[in-house]
């Protein structure tokens, strides 16, 4: 038996959300007393892969096929299914990121293995196999029992902090016998935003709302984000008005984020906005209206004008960030 973890990469580096999945899978493997086997696809350095041992992987199966630098979901489903067969996988773990969201459900239907999407706790195995996940977009949690022999879990990004140890994983070349028919989805263009922190993986998020009055005022948000090494986000009306790109929209109908620190600037804190951010460990609210509902969901608050407070905060945090 084993635990199989899909460790997806972006441009040769294993994603942070995937490292969290490896660590999560390795913890289950330890509970069960079985090996934790990671599966990686595409061109990646051997050293990058053996370093997965630091997160508890015992072995890495590597399909070094350049066609998989963008993980074609159908092809990867086949690879992971073959890894499960080869290693007698009992639990299969993904990151609940873009790749995981496409591959895990396909694998679930293929193996008839129950799937819980977006786990926020380790499985409780005291009676069956019960996994806690967000429901109602973070307004509640559900404990979901997987009732099949094989089990699939995807791990909510930024939920489990990484604790790398000293291990090193053995790396084994793995051939899954992929033919052209396995690549139904052709990637024709990839544009990367280099240097930017992906929003869903960011440990700090600085978010702006309609209180900032217009896109021309986003400089103060970006300066603070830059000083903190943070990603930027926004409320829905801000994205709808085209002030910021759609992929920055957080909330019930946008992205769910769970950073260590979420700083909300000029956002009122509507229930739909809170739903996407209330898993954040620490929430700071800056709003000129003392009655703004967001303060009820905050850990720290400042009642004040964003245009005065935010530049001062940027200066103040630089002291702690050493830049």
């Amino acid at each position: 038996m084993s635990v199989i973890i899909f460790a997806d990469q972006f441009q040769g580096k294993v994603k942070k959300s995937a490292l969290e999945a490896v660590q999560y899978g390795a913890q289950i493997a330890q509970q069960l007393g079985v090996p934790a086997v990671a599966v990686a696809v595409g061109e990646i350095d051997g050293a990058e892969l053996s370093a997965l041992g630091q997160y508890g992987a015992t072995k890495v199966l590597h399909v070094a096929d350049a066609r998989l630098n963008e993980p074609e979901a159908g092809a990867v489903t086949k690879i992971v299914a073959e890894a499960v067969a080869k290693e007698n996988g009992a639990v299969i773990v993904f990151a609940h990121n873009f790749a995981g969201r496409s591959i895990a459900p396909q694998l679930s239907a293929r193996l008839k293995a129950g799937f819980v999407a977006g786990a926020i706790g380790l499985p409780d195995t005291s009676a069956g196999f019960v996994v806690k996940k967000n429901v109602f977009s973070g307004k509640a949690f559900a404990n979901v029992s997987i009732t099949t022999g094989k089990k699939i879990v995807s791990v909510m990004p930024n939920t489990f902090s990484l604790n790398p140890g000293g291990g090193s994983a053995s790396v084994e070349a793995f051939a899954a016998g992929l033919g052209d028919a396995d690549f139904k989805i052709k990637t024709v263009k990839v544009e990367t935003v280099s240097g930017e922190v992906p929003l869903t993986e960011a440990e700090i998020v600085v978010s702006g709302g309609r209180g900032l009055k217009g896109p021309e005022h986003w400089g103060i948000v970006e300066d603070l984000a830059h000083a903190l090494g943070a990603a930027t986000a926004c409320s829905r009306p801000v994205a709808d008005s085209g002030w910021r790109p759609h992929h920055e929209h957080v909330g019930q109908t946008g992205f769910t984020v769970r950073p260590n620190l979420y700083i909300a600037i000029g956002i009122s804190g509507a229930i739909q906005h809170l739903a996407g951010v209330n898993g954040s460990k620490t929430i700071v609210v800056i709003n000129k209206d003392a009655e703004a509902p967001f303060f009820k969901a905050a850990d720290y608050g400042i009642v004040g004008d964003a245009f005065e407070v935010v530049p001062k905060l940027t200066e103040a945090v630089k002291k702690y960030k050493g830049n």
């Binding site: 972006f10 969201r101 129950g114 989805i185 103040a316």
Partner: protein
């Protein structure tokens, strides 16, 4: 072109989230239900735009009890041509996907849309499962879709970037913000929806792979610590020393 849009009924975004029966059931008391926003604003509207631009038949499907009919009628009012309701209250994604795949096998669609996820169970599973059951490619979380002859071009905003992919029809996709703009049904649509076909079918035999044991509400926040606007440095200090997040 023949299109299927999967429609899920979800509580309104402002609904009070509470549970009954010893925290095993969502309390529907006083709750308004809506079409899952991702299904409505992005999947359904994009399907209708394709119909208007290129000509297509748009079918809708929901797996749910009789109480989902108001929601499916609204989707018909927006412009769907006909609808299926598979009569089951199951919450298991695989069971639901099996029902959709069953209808899709008979109807042979070129494009099957789901939303990115539902805003109640946040499973983001049904689309991928339907694709697998039908042996079709699945493009998840697409923010743009264009169809040119037998080829679909889709944009996905992935972590750290954006990708454009091409797939031959038929395909299954899950729709995300960016794909279309929400619409409001007009009076004519609402009238027409009353007489559009809504076929109720009994579920096919299928397995369930998961079950919800219980629900919990998040612990209440300890309370907010207010910092005067003229002491911003104090906030930075607290974030560093107390919260330890910077």
């Amino acid at each position: 072109m023949k299109i299927l849009v999967c429609i899920s009924k979800t509580p309104d975004t402002t609904a009070k989230i509470a549970f009954t029966d010893n925290n095993t059931k969502f309390s529907e008391a006083g709750v308004q239900f809506i079409i899952n926003p991702y299904d409505e604003w992005y999947a359904l509207v994009r399907a209708l735009e394709l119909k208007e631009a290129q000509g297509a038949t748009v079918h809708l499907i929901t797996v749910g009890g009789a109480d989902t009919e108001a929601v499916i009628r609204k989707a018909l009012a927006l412009g769907g041509d006909e609808a299926f309701r598979v009569n089951s209250d199951s919450q298991d994604s695989f069971f639901i996907a099996s029902q959709i795949a069953e209808i899709a096998k008979q109807e042979q669609y070129d494009i099957i849309f789901t939303g990115k996820e539902t805003i109640d169970y946040n499973g983001s599973s049904v689309g991928g499962m339907v694709a697998e059951l039908l042996g079709l490619p699945f493009v998840s979380i697409a923010s743009k879709l264009d169809v040119n002859g037998g080829t679909a071009t889709l944009k996905r905003e992935i972590e750290g970037g954006e990708e454009v992919v091409e797939v031959s029809l038929p395909l299954v996709l899950s729709a995300q913000k960016g794909m279309a703009e929400a619409r409001i049904p007009n009076m004519r649509g609402i009238m027409a929806a009353r007489t559009k076909p809504l076929k109720v079918v009994e579920p096919a035999a299928a397995e369930t792979l998961t079950s919800i044991v219980s629900f919990e509400l998040p612990p209440a926040k300890a309370g907010v610590k207010m910092i005067p606007a003229d002491q911003v440095e104090e906030l930075a200090r607290l974030l560093h020393e107390e919260a330890k997040v910077i």
